[in-house]
């Protein structure tokens, strides 16, 4: 299980490996994007504190951190070197008697990371018969004590506060953690790690709004990211677009925009953004799995294989890379291999949500429903707001012929993503099955689907069909007409078109609107198949009826 802290550690290490010569503070200044470019951007902006703020971004003056290196310079540098070599305990030991704020922070942080490292190791060592037992970071308790005293005495710097926040989160004291992290980011806004910890504590929009954050452009980044996490994609998108005006070369912002677009299902846009991103930053692995999903959805075999090859060469032991390769095999139809790679991704990060979901999809393809259900359920347990996994669960149960049972899951997914027509259609189909045959409910669902931009236009057609089945020809005609209009607008042809035309023709004839009926019938003549013949005979019938109409009247009055 790779925790947030773990990831953080990884980033930390990466950056420290990359630029071990840099000072601690500057390497702490990570943006969510650890690539060099983002780093450069961050540094630019920090070095630029005195320059005028960019238009439209509110900001406060940067607090200048006082330097106390003079006092503990040598010890500190030694400790930092140890730290960079990932000898955390050694680093902490060196700093044992140092009292400077920076030294204290480094010592505590080194201890924390040492505890994390040990925790990770123990997790593997202690794997019990029924899953992993709960390993804890053993440094947390003493760190908490020390940091809380420091905070009480007011001799703690923003980094110390950040660490205190981490410790508090680990201890489950979320409220205090939020306050502490807020203090940290308010006094030193460029510590993105603190922001992202803070964001992980904002599980609802109410909590987010209750935060008192001083105005700074980092706040905008934070809000944009928090909105995204809270599934407020449009708000997040506007924020990012706004930020992009200022930071126009930031790959991070571009990637985040792509993420938001992806969630809004604007695949074309995502593809464009990623093509550009990968041109600028060819060794990027982060977020690229999303790109691979888009390529998968669009069935771009060669592009996906090229991407898979590239990330494989860059870093094969990243969950993202494994996912991309899994996607590639899935598109190839080699589901066993694809499952293998998703498994590898999960081994690298057990809480890698999309890998669980995608693995579920693969198992569904392989008709191994129990395994699929298990995978989906794990995804749902990691993030109960993952509507895809709920949808997958529903689908799996529906496949097994348990529509009523599946409804529970569809309801869940629809609740989370109520403007996705596919979910509504799936639910409607569930109601429509022979076993349930709850047509009224199905109609309701289709109606919802039709009202939220149903791309494949299944809903209208189904609505028409169901109404026809229930003998409500007026409604059926209405929906067939709508469907017809839509097909005309999108210039689609197909059996649905024929069906709509045929129904409308018959309906109009029954309603004695012969002219309309004739129009539909003539349109039907353009198609081949039995419908053409039906249309012909209908036309013939109507013409004879029209010509014999007066005749019949006369006959009627005769006797």
């Amino acid at each position: 299980m790779l925790t947030v802290a773990q990831e953080r550690q990884r980033y930390w290490q990466q950056s420290s490996w990359l630029e071990s010569s840099k000072t601690l503070r500057s390497s702490l200044l990570q943006t969510p994007d650890s690539s060099g470019e983002a780093q450069a951007f961050a540094e630019d902006s920090t070095n630029d504190v005195t320059s005028t703020p960019p238009a439209g971004v509110s900001y406060v003056s940067t607090p200048v951190m006082e330097e106390d290196e003079v006092v503990d310079g040598d010890f500190y540098l030694l400790a930092k070197s140890y730290f960079d070599c990932r000898e955390y305990r050694r680093a902490a030991h060196v700093l044992q008697d140092q009292t400077g704020k920076k030294a204290t922070f480094l010592r505590c942080y080194a201890l924390y990371l040492a505890g994390e490292k040990r925790k990770e190791e123990e997790m593997i060592e202690l794997e019990g018969p029924l899953g992993k037992s709960d390993a804890v970071n053993r440094e947390v308790a003493s760190l908490e004590r020390e940091l809380s005293i420091l905070r009480k005495n007011g001799i703690i710097d923003p980094f110390g506060l950040y660490l205190y926040g981490l410790v508090l989160i680990e201890k489950g004291n979320q409220n205090l953690a939020r306050t502490v992290l807020m203090e940290s980011v308010n006094s030193y806004p460029w510590n993105w790690s603190a922001w992202s910890e803070l964001q992980s504590l904002c599980t609802t929009i109410e909590i987010l709004n209750s935060l008192t954050l001083s105005n700074h452009w980092m706040k905008e980044f934070f809000l944009a990211s928090a909105y995204q996490e809270l599934r407020m994609h449009n708000e997040s998108l506007t924020k990012y677009e706004h930020l992009q005006n200022t930071f126009s070369f930031s790959n991070y912002i571009r990637a985040q925009i792509a993420k938001a677009q992806y969630c809004l299902r604007e695949f074309e846009q995502v593809e464009v953004i990623f093509e550009e991103l990968l041109r600028n930053d060819p060794y990027r692995v982060e977020d690229v799995d999303m790109y691979s999903n888009v390529l998968y959805a669009k069935e771009c075999f060669s592009a996906l294989s090229y991407l898979a090859h590239r990330v494989f060469m860059t870093d094969k032991y990243r969950p993202e890379s494994c996912c991309i390769i899994g996607n590639y095999y899935s598109l190839k139809g080699q589901h066993e291999k694809s499952v293998l790679y998703f498994r590898r991704a999960l081994k690298l990060n057990k809480n890698y949500l999309s890998a669980w979901t995608l693995m579920g999809h693969e198992y569904v393809e392989m008709k191994n429903t129990p395994a699929a259900i298990d995978a989906y359920r794990r995804a749902v347990d990691i993030n109960p707001r993952d509507y895809r996994a709920w949808y997958g669960l529903g689908q799996a149960y529906e496949m097994m012929g348990m529509p009523f049972y599946a409804l529970h899951y569809f309801k869940k997914s629809v609740f989370l993503q109520s403007n996705d027509s596919r979910l509504w259609i799936a639910m409607a189909q569930c109601y429509e099955t022979d076993q349930l045959h709850m047509l009224e409910e199905a109609i309701k669902c289709y109606r919802r689907a039709a009202s939220c931009n149903d791309r494949e236009a299944i809903a209208l057609h189904q609505l028409a069909k169901l109404h026809a089945e229930l003998g409500r020809s007026e409604e059926a005609a209405l929906y067939y007409k709508k469907d017809l209009e839509r097909m005309e607008a999108e210039e689609r042809e197909g059996p649905n078109m024929v069906e709509a035309l045929l129904f409308l023709a018959q309906h109009c004839r029954e309603q004695k609107r012969f002219e309309e009926a004739e129009v539909y019938c003539t349109r039907l003549l353009d198609y081949t198949g039995p419908e053409k013949e039906t249309a012909k005979s209908m036309l013939r019938g109507m013409r004879t009826a029209e010509s014999s109409f007066p005749l019949m009247d006369i006959e009627h009055f005769h006797p």
Partner: protein, 924 residues
């Protein structure tokens, strides 16, 4: 790896191994076992340690020590000493290696081992031998890191006992556990308030539930155990605590806090087998006690298990049960789905042999459970939809036993709720079993379903299911009127009847179960229960053990055998048997044999309460109390009710609540306290409203009582209207048996309103209903009403009335309650009085009439007025005294006349000014 890792070696297991070594190699011990029984006792203790499932966590060394002190007797200190020194001497990985190779030597079977004199050869295939082998194997597959961990843990395990004062770090609680702790404290605070002022029994029950958080209890016990060895300053209260007399088992003591949860103290889950056993036990307890098991306490334990063993999905099922019985719909649905998503319906226990060879997923069980859940929450439509799906999937998966159970569930559903939902659901084209047309009534569909289900269960040899199907059949026979299945329409003969013989037959068939269950007991399950019981017993006679050191072992063996015997019949079997007695009681109630009904209820209450659910037990109590009210008056009944209410506090209040309302209503009517009657009646109506699903019985009861209240208020037409609509409802839902009562009520209404002629047909109809449905007691009372009607038509019908009454008297006097008997007697004497042949006696002042003749009239009157006074039935009592006064007047017995007249006056006064002060009401 998977097989080996299912059994992890822990410090506790190392201790058990040490004990085993002491057991097997007594010669090594300097003071050998003084007697065989002492030796055996140690063996039994070790066995219990490996088998019992009273807790989820392995005991700490302190617990082990205090238990050893109890079982060891004189040897105790030595055992403890040896154990602690042996365990604490393990200080390097190499020590562990030598230790386990020594262990291998205890096992018999290998020739290389030199057998010493006194050595007990441990059979490698015995339970203890297997345990040892598993330990050795588990150690052998450990990686070096694993060995290091084991060593550290052993160090901590010993340190907790050996160190007198703990370092500051140890007192720190880590956050998550801290949360748990404070949560459970909150829970306990609630609990305390709740329990406050309730009877002891309730407290005991609560304690039983809370005792399962034994990681709290262990701490205090352990501390007390330590008092002798180590100078630990313990709170004096904790000694008091051990006696089990405190009112809250979770008093948070500062002195013991450190032991509750500490960050370094490793907690280990017991073996999978034991945890599963524990969970099963808990599931049983939840199902038995329903809502009375504390929700949060158990939830905390479950959360802990989940944390320690995330892959044990059974926990979700327990979560589901817990929330189900605490009426948390959403949590129940969520957890049920979660459980089946993870387990696919196949994760069960080690010891349940997989029925059927295919190991594929069994989602049909999920459907079955979901259906039952909807049923429980009163969503019959959803339940039926889900169960239909379950039938289909079971057929597809050819899971016959699940199909049989599903059918039984559907039967249950439609017999409980079926009559209130219109026939539409079962009758639709996608009906589960056969394509029965919608023209067939629900009852007939149910009959077909029952037959089908029974057949399936029999062919699959699911004995419990067969038995419960027989029960369902009996219930059906009891409540439903038989009609020929295939003839419909107006011309078909409408001969309605019920078959008591069938009911009896089904009940008897059900009882066969007890002779058949023997073949399907799972020995392993009883094994664990036995060990648990033994260990629990161990702690009970603590005081006496110390005093009588030699005899105690013998004593305990008796206790042990008793335990073993009591658990030898599976609980489920007992439960089914119990419900057959319950059904017998209600059958006799319906057929009108009060003594038999009472006896069956008593049998149930004495023999089956341990194994049955508390709601059933409450039902039996309700029946007995009802009986008490009818035969001994309200005072007795109310005091019994009070006891019952305290006992079943919050468990199944609804049964007792309804009963209470019924009794109050009855009494209010008798005392002519109409306002109260109306109020109570309204309350019943609220209960019957359809918030919790429609209970037809309750609905019928409520409107019946409404009609009776109206009748008592002399609003005849309204009463008749209510009764009519009730009749229509019962007719609509095919509740023919109930209709007899309603017809009788209608007759009563007409009688009271003075329209005896109109009443006659109703009485006759009711009579014929009773006759064909074998409702003997009701028939007697219908006859009585008929006689009263005749009587009110004029004195020339008195003779006919008297014959009718005499015909019904044996039944009434044998089985009727106080009221019915009194009514019959008064009616009888009225017949005598209005009979023209007796009118001479009245009008002609014939003093010469023999004394017995007047006694013929006076005796029943006297008895009736006695009984009515017990019931406080003022109206009828006044009538009785009035008649008595007249007769005494005629007989010239002035003194007695005055007395009767005074009583008459008293009752009339009471009738006219119903007093608000009621001593009995205060009792409740």
């Amino acid at each position: 790896m998977a097989a080996a890792s299912a059994f992890a070696i822990t410090p506790h297991k190392v201790s058990v191994c040490v004990l085993l070594q002491m057991y097997a190699l007594p010669t090594q011990a300097t003071p050998p076992f003084s007697s065989v029984s002492q030796h055996n006792r140690l063996g039994l203790y070790i066995l219990s340690l490996t088998k019992s499932y009273d807790d989820i966590l392995e005991p700490k060394l302190e617990d082990l020590i205090s238990q050893l002190r109890e079982i060891g007797g004189s040897l105790g200190p030595w055992l403890i000493d040896h154990l602690t020194s042996r365990v604490s001497s393990l200080s390097s990985p190499d020590d562990l290696f030598t230790f386990f190779s020594e262990m291998r030597g205890i096992l018999g079977g290998s020739d290389s081992v030199v057998i010493e004199d006194n050595q007990v050869i441990l059979d490698p295939n015995s339970i203890l031998g297997m345990f040892l082998r598993r330990c050795v194997l588990a150690f052998n597959v450990l990686s070096f890191e694993g060995v290091c961990h084991l060593l550290t843990n052993i160090g901590i395990y010993c340190k907790e006992v050996l160190s007198n004062c703990m370092p500051y770090e140890l007192h720190r609680l880590d956050g998550s556990s801290n949360d748990l702790e404070s949560l459970s404290e909150c829970e306990n605070m609630d609990l305390e308030n709740f329990v406050f002022g309730k009877v002891n029994e309730e407290i005991e029950e609560r304690k039983e539930a809370t005792e399962r958080v034994s990681f709290h209890l262990h701490a205090t016990q352990a501390i007390c155990g330590l008092v002798e060895d180590v100078e630990v300053v313990t709170d004096p209260r904790s000694k008091h605590h051990d006696k089990g007399t405190e009112d809250c088992p979770h008093v948070h003591r500062p002195g013991t806090e450190s032991q509750d949860v500490d960050p370094y103290g490793e907690v280990f889950l017991r073996t999978n087998w034991q945890v599963q056993g524990y969970l099963t036990e808990q599931a049983d307890a939840i199902e038995k006690h329903g809502g009375s098991v504390s929700f949060n306490t158990f939830e905390l334990i479950l959360r802990q298990i989940k944390k320690l063993a995330p892959e044990l999905h059974r926990v979700h099922y327990l979560h589901y049960l817990n929330s189900l019985y605490h009426d948390d719909y959403f949590a129940a649905v969520e957890n049920l789905h979660c459980y089946f998503d993870y387990s696919a319906g196949i994760e069960g226990f080690d010891f349940v042999p997989p029925s059927g060879s295919n190991n594929s997923a069994r989602y049909e069980i999920a459907l079955l459970c979901l259906g039952m859940m909807h049923f429980y929450f009163g969503h019959p439509k959803q339940a039926l939809l889900v169960l239909t799906e379950a039938v289909r999937i079971s057929q597809v998966q050819s899971n016959d036993s699940c199909l049989a159970y599903t059918l039984a569930a559907i039967c249950n559903l439609s017999s409980e709720i079926g009559s209130s939902i219109t026939a539409g659901i079962l009758g639709t084209s996608y009906s589960p079993v056969t394509s029965m047309g919608s023209s067939v009534s629900v009852a007939q569909q149910l009959f077909v379903l029952l037959k089908e289900s029974l057949k399936r269960a029999e062919s699959l040899k699911l004995k419990r299911l067969v038995a419960s199907n027989h029960l369902a059949m009996a219930k059906f026979d009891l409540m439903h009127v038989q009609r020929p299945l295939l003839s419909f329409g107006p011309k078909a003969s409408m001969r309605l009847k019920t078959c008591p013989v069938n009911v009896c037959k089904e009940l008897r068939l059900c009882s066969h179960l007890i002779s058949e269950f023997a073949s399907e007991t799972s020995t392993v399950a009883t094994d664990g229960a036995f060990s648990t019981a033994w260990l629990k017993n161990l702690t009970k006679p603590m005081g006496s053990l110390v005093l009588t050191q030699e005899n105690e072992s013998g004593e305990n063996f008796h206790a042990l055998q008793f335990c073993a015997q009591s658990s030898s019949i599976p609980r489920s079997v007992l439960q089914i048997l119990g419900s057959s007695y319950l059904l017998r009681a209600s059958a006799w109630e319906t057929y009108g044999s009060a003594p038999l009904a009472r006896i069956n209820a008593l049998v149930y209450a004495t023999c089956f309460t341990d194994s049955s659910s508390s709601s059933d037990t409450a039902l039996v109590h309700a029946k007995l109390i009802q009986h008490l009210a009818a035969f001994q008056g309200y005072k007795e009944a109310f005091s019994a009710l009070k006891v019952a209410e305290e006992r079943f506090l919050s468990v199944s209040r609804s049964v007792l609540l309804v009963l209470k309302l019924q009794l109050l209503h009855e009494r209010a009517l008798h005392r002519a306290h109409l306002k109260l009657a109306q109020q109570v009646c309204d309350e019943l109506g609220v209960l019957a409203s359809s918030v919790m699903g429609v209970d037809m019985e309750l609905k019928r009861e409520a409107s019946l009582r409404h009609a009776r209240t109206l009748l008592a208020a002399k609003q005849f037409s309204e009463a008749a209207a209510v009764a009519h609509s009730l009749f229509c409802m019962c007719y609509k839902f095919n509740m023919q048996v109930e209709n007899a009562t309603i017809l009788l009520l209608l007759a009563e209404i007409h009688k009271k309103s003075g329209n005896a002629v109109l009443g006659l047909p109703y009485a006759l109809a009711s009579l014929s209903f009773c006759q064909s449905f074998n409702l003997d007691l009701l028939k007697a009372s219908a006859t009585l009403t008929l006689a009263e009607l005749w009587l009110s038509l004029g004195s020339n019908h008195a003779k006919r009335a008297l014959t009718l009454i005499h015909g019904a008297l044996p039944m009434i006097l044998g089985h009727g309650g106080l009221e019915l008997r009194a009514r019959a007697r008064i009616a009888e004497s009225k017949c005598y009085l209005s009979d023209p042949s007796y009118s001479d006696f009245l009008c002609g002042f014939i003093f010469s009439l023999v004394f017995e003749d007047s006694e013929v009239v006076l005796d029943p009157l006297r008895q009736a007025s006695d009984e009515l006074q017990v019931l406080e039935y003022h109206e009828l009592a006044a009538e009785g005294f009035y008649l008595m006064a007249i007769i005494f007047d005629k007989l010239g017995k002035l003194e007695e006349r005055e007395e009767a007249a005074a009583s008459f006056k008293k009752h009339v006064m009471a009738l006219e000014n119903p007093q608000d002060e009621d001593p009995l009401l205060n009792l409740l």
